[in-house]
Every structure is written in C-alpha cells, then in structure tokens.
Symmetry: C2
C-alpha cells in the first residue's frame, strides 16, 4: 500500500483563516492536527494539535501563574480576541514543519516522517505538490496490520 491509497480527504485551513476557525475545524472533525494550505492547495505547514493549542496559549504568554488566576469564565473574551488573528499570525514561522510525503511513499516512510517530526498528521501531495489528502497517525497504525493483543 502507498500513501495515496491511505490518504483521506480532511478539511484543511488557509493561512489567512481566523485562528478560531482553525481550532473549530480540528475539534469538529476530531483531527489530531491541521494542514494549512495556500490558494493553490499546496500545503504550507502541518500543525500537530498541541501546536494548534499553542496558538491559544501564546495569548497568555505561557504564564502558568497568570493561568491560575484566569479560567473559562473568561473564555468568551479569550476567543473574541483570538478570533481576529489569522493562523499565520499565531504560529511562529521558525516552529512550523511541513510533514508532507509524495503519493507513492510507503507506509513505513510515512511512519518515519511522523515519528521524526512528531506530527500525528501528514499531508500527501502529488507531483505538483498539490494536496491529495491526509494520513492520521491512527489511520496509519490501523493500516499497518496491527495484530490482536
């Protein structure tokens, strides 16, 4: 089996989309992360879920003492502030990775990339680097013919 056969169509987000929309897509689709694409459907980067969360947390500067004093009663305001920012504004460019494989990659190549980049989501692209679909970590493990334990 090759990456193209396992690639599923999943909702993506655009770099200019509001950050709250990105989070909403991930939660609603129960995705482990997000593929951010450009207008030509070429992946720009793949965000693991924990980095999507970082978009939110950076709002508070990762200050644990501050977080202790703030709770979800302030969530409305929190989301309102975040909603005006675009995905790319919330993600430091030096931190993003492009977890991407060609359509003819083997499943083990996909596994190695996921493991190396610590990304539970990988974009599968054609020869023009246009998005064919995505592979989640759990879909990959399913496909690797895991025996019963």
């Amino acid at each position: 089996m090759r990456a193209r056969e396992l690639a599923a169509e999943v909702p993506t987000v655009m770099a200019g989309d509001p950050a709250t929309h990105a989070v909403r897509v991930m939660v609603d689709e129960k995705l482990p992360g997000l593929v951010v694409i450009d207008a030509d459907r070429r992946p720009l980067f793949v965000l693991p879920g924990s980095q999507v969360l970082r978009m939110l947390v950076s709002h508070y500067g990762g200050d644990t003492a501050l977080a202790r004093t703030i709770d979800e009663e302030h969530a409305d305001q929190f989301w309102r502030e975040l909603g005006v920012r675009a995905v790319t504004e919330c993600v430091p460019p030096e931190k993003v990775k492009l977890a991407e494989v060609p359509a003819d990659a083997t499943l083990l190549e996909v596994a190695i990339l996921m493991s190396r980049l610590r990304s539970p989501l990988v974009a599968v692209v054609d020869r023009d680097r246009r998005l064919v679909g995505c592979i989640t970590l759990n879909a990959l493990l399913d496909a690797l013919a895991l025996p019963d334990s």
Copy 2:
C-alpha cells in the same frame, strides 16, 4: 472547571506491557497517546502518539532508504519482533516526559502544559500522585467553550 471534572477514565498501559499491546490500546480506543503507569497507578510517563509510533520505527533505525524497500507485506514479522519487547525497552528514558497535572489545575494550566510538552494527552493525579483520569487535547478544546465559526 478544574482538571478533575474533565478527566476521563481511559485505558492505560503498564511499563512492562508488550509494545504491541500498547499500540493496540491506543488504536482501539482512538487515543492521541498513552499514559504508562506503575503498579500503584502512578503515571511514569505520557507518550504522545507520535512517540508510540517511534517505538515501531526505531525497529528500523529510522532509516528511510531501508523503509523504501520494506512494506506492509513484512508487517507480520515486524509485529512479531516488536511484540516481545516491553514498552520501557522501546522508549528511550531521556525522551519521555511526564505530562501530569494535579486534580485542581485549571483548564488553562492544562492547556499550557500540553502546549509546552507538546503532548495531546495529560494525566490527572490526586495528592498521592495516583491517576484520577486523563484529558485529551480535543476534550480540552471542547471544554474551553470554543465559539462557532
């Protein structure tokens, strides 16, 4: 809301369990990672899914050229070999992290820890450091009252 209220009971694995069993638990329960506990139900470490995958990949030494020549027709042998190894044998101790919060942590404290440790799963513990339950990234985002987009 505090961590204890959001903590769900999820299957855990023991450090001595076979690696294949650990992978099976994660896939069957659609978990984003695994909490590994000791005999007293105290968390030893929390493995993000991509690190669970690393247990498998390390079998091939992360060698992409090698992976290109091997595919899932060899999966049976692959799993058989892996099945005899325990979880702790497959995880380099210097790489593991303990994503753990006290039961009275706020949701934002949980978010900051997940983000900092890049872990989509966090263990919630009581005062004796015994496991109360786990919080997944998507459960956390759901609870943070995300507005419709």
